[in-house]
């Protein structure tokens, strides 16, 4: 299991210097660490977080947006009619609720379709694992720089240490 502080440090080492988002339990440890480091700006909706990240990017920051996968639905229009067409990249740290059909009912549909959903939206994505973490972060940084659109790093339950291990 990846420690939350190591996860946040890896992002900061990549140059990420603007963090916003809406919480999820899988991301609880990461958000707690961001708050300890006083570098997290909470948003009230995922599309707002994506909009803030776009503004921060244009002002010279490298932004990351944390959300659970339901937030992809909430922020869909912003991702396609702002980030995609204006070429404004951000790193989406997306928790995979409903993976494998084992979760609360509201997560099951998005949990099943999420990879196809990201493919359909043409958002490059990769699922983080502990053994490939170094390459995963490298891929995120390269895709961000090369394509200048949102890139998603998907976090499954238990890969990054949460608040309640």
């Amino acid at each position: 299991m990846i420690e939350s502080d190591a996860f946040v440090q890896a992002l900061q080492d990549m140059g990420v210097d603007f963090f916003t988002g809406v919480p999820d339990s899988i991301l609880g440890g990461i958000i707690a660490e961001l708050m300890v480091r006083r570098i997290y700006t909470p948003a009230v909706r995922e599309d707002e977080a994506v909009g803030m990240a776009a503004g921060a990017y244009m002002a010279g920051k490298i932004p990351a947006v944390l959300m659970q996968n339901s937030g992809l639905g909430t922020s869909l229009n912003t991702l396609i009619s702002l980030n995609m067409i204006y070429r404004q990249p951000c790193i989406l740290i997306v928790s995979w609720r409903g993976q494998g059909g084992k979760d609360a009912p509201e997560h099951l549909v998005m949990g099943e379709v999420m990879p196809h959903f990201l493919d359909t939206m043409k958002i490059p994505h990769r699922t983080l694992t502990e053994s490939t973490a170094v390459e995963d972060f490298k891929w995120v940084a390269e895709t961000f720089m090369k394509q200048r659109i949102p890139v998603a790093l998907v976090i499954t339950k238990g890969v990054v240490k949460g608040l309640h291990p």
Partner: protein, 193 residues
């Protein structure tokens, strides 16, 4: 009655008065007629013209304002837009960026889609902003008041909201000619440093 009694100016007239008072401040302009009219009146590299993502103008401006605390950041917004992204009033009110000015052109209709009514005739958006934590809010009906209040907001610590009641008239402005990726690049270069 739509628009509110005593409202005389059009959004384009209000925009022209505001743009006269601005120089090199970043301005995030919401989708629809506000971007088209601002582009026609004065096309500046510090303007970020939106063509989609309705409701997100203040969120984008907030991102710029947080990343550039030494620059005063303005957003030109509409009543339909504010209603769609109303949560952002709370985020701005909670974070209290001093360098954030939110201008709302309130004509009580969705102008770009055929003047269907919004609900801003019964929901005073500047009062919502005040309750959410904006420091200064003003509602103005004419050019003289808008110039006075906007000048005052430029001197004060925010966040501030200037709500301007305007009529439904839309300028024959055409679409913004720049390609979206070029708008991003131009804006980024213009607000550097």
């Amino acid at each position: 009655m739509r628009p509110e009694e005593g409202t005389l100016i059009s959004r384009a007239q209000a925009l022209a008065a505001l743009l006269e008072l601005l120089t090199d401040q970043p301005v995030i302009i919401c989708n629809g007629f506000p971007s088209r009219e601002a582009h026609k009146i004065a096309d500046r590299p510090t303007h970020f013209y939106m063509i989609g993502s309705m409701g997100n103008a203040p969120a984008i401006a907030l991102g710029v304002a947080l990343a550039k605390p030494n620059k005063q950041v303005i957003t030109f917004d509409g009543d339909g837009n504010v209603l769609m992204g109303m949560g952002t009033l709370a985020t701005v009110g909670a974070l209290k960026p001093k360098n954030f000015i939110h201008v709302v052109f309130d004509n009580e209709v969705y102008g770009t889609t055929g003047n269907q009514p919004t609900i801003s005739n019964v929901v005073p958006l500047e009062k919502v902003a005040k309750a959410a934590g904006y420091v200064n809010v003003e509602r103005v009906l004419d050019r003289e008041d808008l110039v006075y209040e906007f000048k005052d907001m430029l001197k004060k610590d925010g966040p501030s909201m200037l709500l301007i009641k305007v009529n439904e008239f839309a300028e024959d402005a055409g679409r913004v000619l720049h390609e979206p990726p070029d708008i991003t690049k131009r804006f980024m270069k213009a607000i550097e440093g």
